[in-house]
């Protein structure tokens, strides 16, 4: 086992040794912190804080030198795959390369150092930036206005559903159901529940799209709306979208567009033009926010004109009178706040920079490359794996490893794990649920033809190996910092903090 204490060896670079936790590296009395000299007259906290509020013992935190902290965290980073290291063809997640200039934007002291409650007169730059972003997002989606508050896609979904609810309520006809396709992302049904609606699932037809008959069967006056992703999570464009929109609108429902990933449609087609009333976007997929190991993101929601009065507030707006160019405004029938402040502002700044760098032309090229790359892979691997729906896809393509499983006992998951040994992140496995042994590949527009070819070759190699040496595939990965991880044990014997560890033997 690893020697505890501030041990500075570089296991990740040279081998597969464990990295101790910071708690194990801790030694009482060591420290890294230093603060400004305040120069205030000394006073004992005992005089300032009544005894009933004082804690008996200080919080037990790791005590390490800056040197040991740096070595520990740097070594942790060396045990982590990332876009900057290699391709990440994780379907539905849009792990594309984001330009570094956006990091520079987010680090500008005049943006990063601004307090969110500062008076409007002192934050005109931020207000202008947010208004311009809102306008750009509306241009991209074909909507009338947007709220930038939601902190991620799921938060945007819930915001959109609450807008739907408020709108129906204002119209005096509250409804109880929201329709979602069976291929929908898990956040959709979860958000529908939190929005106070019942989930009604419609199945996909054999082409991977919404089954129109099934849809008609569930549509009635109790349907508040439908949530769709288009292209859907199978990477397919719902060609019948205009008919779907008419059908839903006919029963008085609203159309919600899960725009988590807009890569495929930028400059090609706009949700507003398809008939959608509400759209959320994941700026952390399409608009240049790296995923940060799981976040932060930003999930603005854009709406059609009739929903604008319900948007969360306060909203940054151009002022029509008064000395200031920009101010705050809360819409008349606002559903209220959906964030502690104004949303993930530094993420929003990145997004505007990205949109400006690309412009109308560049965004269109993003869509073209994203779709071209996915279709190239679809075609390239058609002889290797089954394509779930063999038609032109949009920005992602779903394969199925069903045959591998049947013939060799190798599952989609195993294929993904073996790809790790080839230096690629695994595709999304086991999603969407409607495809057996799904392998969902989203190459994104930022990978080169050579990378795509290398990825395809690696997948081919793994599939060939699955036939010849299935055990090597099911035992994968072997070249990674740790081998296959026991997930069942993690859940069975939950150790979710260092303090919950069984005391070490000896």
């Amino acid at each position: 086992m690893s020697a505890p204490g501030g041990r500075a060896t570089s296991a990740p670079l040279v081998g597969r040794e464990e990295e101790p936790t910071l708690f194990e590296l801790s030694r009482p009395g060591r420290r890294a912190w230093s603060f400004r000299t305040g120069g205030f007259p000394d006073r004992s906290v005992d005089d300032l804080v009544p005894p009933v509020h004082r804690r008996a013992h200080p919080v037990d935190l790791p005590e390490v030198s800056e040197r040991d902290l740096v070595a520990h965290v740097t070594r942790l980073s060396a045990r982590q795959f990332s876009v900057d290291l290699g391709a990440y063809p994780l379907g539905s997640c849009t792990m594309k390369y984001n330009p570094k200039v956006c990091d520079a934007v987010a680090a500008l002291p005049g943006l990063a150092g601004v307090h969110p409650a500062a008076p409007a007169s002192t934050v005109q730059g931020w207000l202008a930036l947010l208004v311009e972003l809102e306008e750009a997002l509306c241009a991209i989606t074909g909507m009338a206005a947007a709220t930038l508050q939601p902190a991620a896609g799921a938060a945007g979904e819930l915001t959109g559903l609450l807008l739907m609810r408020a709108w129906h309520a204002a119209a005096g006809r509250p409804r109880s159901k929201v329709i979602i396709p069976d291929s929908a992302h898990g956040t959709n049904p979860a958000s529908v529940t939190l929005g106070g609606y019942e989930v009604v699932t419609v199945s996909s037809d054999e082409r991977g799209c919404v089954d129109m008959d099934a849809l008609h069967r569930v549509l009635d006056e109790d349907v508040a709306g439908i949530m769709l992703t288009n292209p859907n999570t199978l990477g397919l464009f719902e060609e019948d979208i205009a008919r779907i929109a008419t059908a839903v609108h006919d029963v008085g429902g609203l159309l919600y567009y899960d725009g988590a990933n807009l890569n495929a449609i930028l400059g090609v087609v706009r949700p507003g033009d398809m008939g959608f009333d509400i759209v959320h976007m994941n700026l952390h997929k399409t608009f240049a926010t790296p995923h940060g190991g799981g976040g932060p993101g930003a999930g603005p929601v854009a709406v059609a004109e009739r929903l604008v009065p319900f948007l969360p507030g306060p909203r940054p707006v151009r002022t029509v009178d008064g000395p200031l160019g920009y101010g705050w405004h809360t819409p008349a029938r606002s559903i209220g706040r959906v964030h502690s402040w104004h949303g993930n502002a530094l993420v929003l700044a990145r997004a505007l920079a990205y949109i400006r760098v690309n412009g109308a032309d560049g965004l269109r090229r993003v869509a073209e490359a994203a779709v071209l790359n996915a279709n190239w892979l679809r075609r390239r691997l058609a002889g290797t794996l089954d394509v779930a729906y063999d038609r032109t896809c949009m920005h992602e393509v779903v394969f199925s490893a069903q045959r591998l499983r049947r013939d060799h006992g190798v599952r989609a998951l195993d294929v993904g794990k073996r790809l790790l040994d080839h230096g690629f992140h695994a595709p999304t496995v086991a999603f969407p649920l409607v495809v057996e042994e799904a392998l969902m590949v989203e190459p994104t527009e930022t990978e080169s033809p050579e990378t795509l070819e290398a990825l395809a070759a690696a997948i081919e190699a793994v599939v060939a190996e699955a036939a010849s040496h299935p055990a090597s595939v099911t035992a994968a990965p072997t070249a990674t910092p740790v081998g296959r991880v026991d997930e069942a044990r993690a859940a069975r014997r939950l150790v979710a903090t260092f303090d919950a560890r069984p005391t070490p033997e000896g």
Binding site: T21, A32, W33, V49, H53, P58, L61, P62, E63, V64, T74, L76, S77, S82, V83, N98, V101, L108, P109, L111, V114, H115, A118, P119, V123, Q124, A139, A152, G153, A154, L158, G186, A190, V192, V268, H291, G292, G293, G295, A298, I335, R337, S340, W341, H342, R356, G359, A360, D361, N373, K417, A426, T428, P477, T480, V482, E487, A491, A496, T497
Partner: protein, 437 residues
């Protein structure tokens, strides 16, 4: 590549998009520009913000604080392996993020005085909402008592969410800076027997309140006690867990995340093991790999939306991992002694500032309860006017208490962090005196 696909033009890629829907004339946006031009444009926005912490001395708080952001935290948290990785779905190549979250969870649990913490939520408000949802589910009662001492924005956001969940949120007012819970003798007003009781510590006025009455109500009614605790004050104060909280939530921005005009921030969430299966969001657990080496993985995934769908404990998917990693680094930087020191320095500076301001003509305390990092004063002019005058002198003088509180327009909430020096405070007090003259 088009050839390989048998396509003639790039347009053919979009053959499945009906013609009628296709954008004929492209997006109504300006054409792309070079990165240096765009950076210059963004710098112009930045320049137009007067209230930047490198040019204005910051006394604003109200849930967003100007704490030390050491170079070491910034450079480590900025490592591209953390910044450009996805949610750790493939643990074999994600031990870096997973272990960092495991360490984060441990630290947050210790701060909260509770055994489990999740891998982060969006911000303080979302953590509160999830806590309420958990509490209602656990207690089976949708009535939620929320102290007015809870941040008004968080209460507003909880109110927004309640429109969907149907929870019944009732405000419990502050009197003299602390929550005036109904007396135990009273008919359990307002609204009946609560399923959840929410209180802030310190509260929005900066005041410390006794959490016993809230705990007592929970004991009496079987309600879940949610404490919205300031994690920085944890250096000095009893933890929520110590006061008997079932869930502790908080805003983690203070640990290494810049003010950033309000985001991205970090929602802290810790709870008792009874509530584990109701925990919202991601959770990392320790396990082993095939060779028995220690390894980490996201666990209890069946709570989550991607598996449980409409029955999930929460809809959260993307969270604030990078901020959680940042907080773990910053808390490692602080360590046991640093957190104590931080709390003490804030308290000493805050009291010095408060005493000096209260000595000015016309300045009065908004509340008298004890404070540690923040306090509210009443002034003869409105807070908005005062703030404008102070801004001209180079001070972000605080946050107007505003409509959420009685006579809040004439009240200013002032935070004094460890980054403030005596010289800055003395100049600030002089500027306030000048502005009130």
């Amino acid at each position: 590549m088009l050839d390989f696909l048998g396509l003639g033009t790039l347009d053919d890629l979009f053959e499945t998009v009906p013609d009628a829907l296709r954008l004929a004339s492209g997006l109504d946006l300006p054409p792309g520009r070079g990165e240096p031009d765009v950076l210059a444009e963004m710098e112009a926005f930045a320049e137009a913000n007067r209230a930047r912490s490198d040019r204005m001395v910051c006394f604003a708080g109200a849930g967003a604080y100007d704490h030390e952001l050491p170079a070491v935290t910034r450079s480590l948290a900025g490592r591209s392996e953390f910044v450009t990785s996805y949610t750790p779905y493939q643990p074999e190549v994600a031990q870096g993020v997973l272990q960092a979250i495991f360490e984060y969870q441990t630290m947050v649990a210790r701060l909260a005085g509770l055994p489990v913490a999740n891998a982060s939520l969006y911000d303080g408000a979302s953590a509160l909402i999830e806590a309420i949802n958990l509490g209602v589910a656990a207690s089976g009662r949708p009535l939620v008592w929320v102290s007015q001492g809870v941040h008004p924005h968080w209460r507003a956001a909880a109110g927004t969410a309640a429109a969907g969940t149907g929870h019944d949120l009732r405000s419990v007012p502050l009197v003299d800076g602390v929550t005036a819970w109904p007396a135990p003798s009273e008919a359990p007003a307002p609204g009946g027997e609560p399923g959840v009781v929410v209180v802030a510590y310190p509260n929005h006025l900066g005041c410390l309140e006794d959490l016993e009455p809230a705990r007592a109500w929970c004991d009496r009614t079987g309600a879940v006690l949610v404490v919205a605790a300031d994690p920085v004050a944890a250096g000095l104060l009893r933890s929520g867990g110590d006061w008997g909280a079932d869930v502790v939530v908080g805003e983690g921005q203070a640990f290494g995340t810049p003010l950033g005009f309000g985001g991205p921030y970090l929602g802290l969430f810790a709870t008792a093991t009874d509530h584990l299966r109701r925990l919202p969001g991601r959770l990392v657990g320790e396990t082993v790999d095939t060779e028995g080496r220690r390894a980490y993985v996201t666990t209890l995934r069946t709570r989550e939306q991607d598996i449980r769908r409409e029955k999930a404990t929460s809809n959260v998917c993307t969270n604030q991992t990078l901020m959680a990693v940042t907080a773990a680094i910053q808390l490692g930087w602080l360590g046991t002694s640093g957190l104590v020191e931080l709390g003490q320095r804030c308290a000493v500076a805050t009291h010095y500032t408060r005493d000096a301001l209260l000595a000015l003509d016309g300045v009065e305390p908004y509340a008298e309860a004890p404070v540690v990092r923040e306090f509210a004063i009443r002034t003869p002019v409105t807070a908005d006017v005062l703030l404008e005058r102070l801004a001209d002198d180079g001070f972000l003088g605080g946050v107007a208490l505003g409509e959420a509180y009685p006579d809040g327009e004439r009240a200013l909430l002032i935070a004094v962090t460890e980054r403030r020096t005596r010289d800055e405070v003395d100049r600030f007090v002089a500027a306030v005196a000048g502005a009130l003259r």
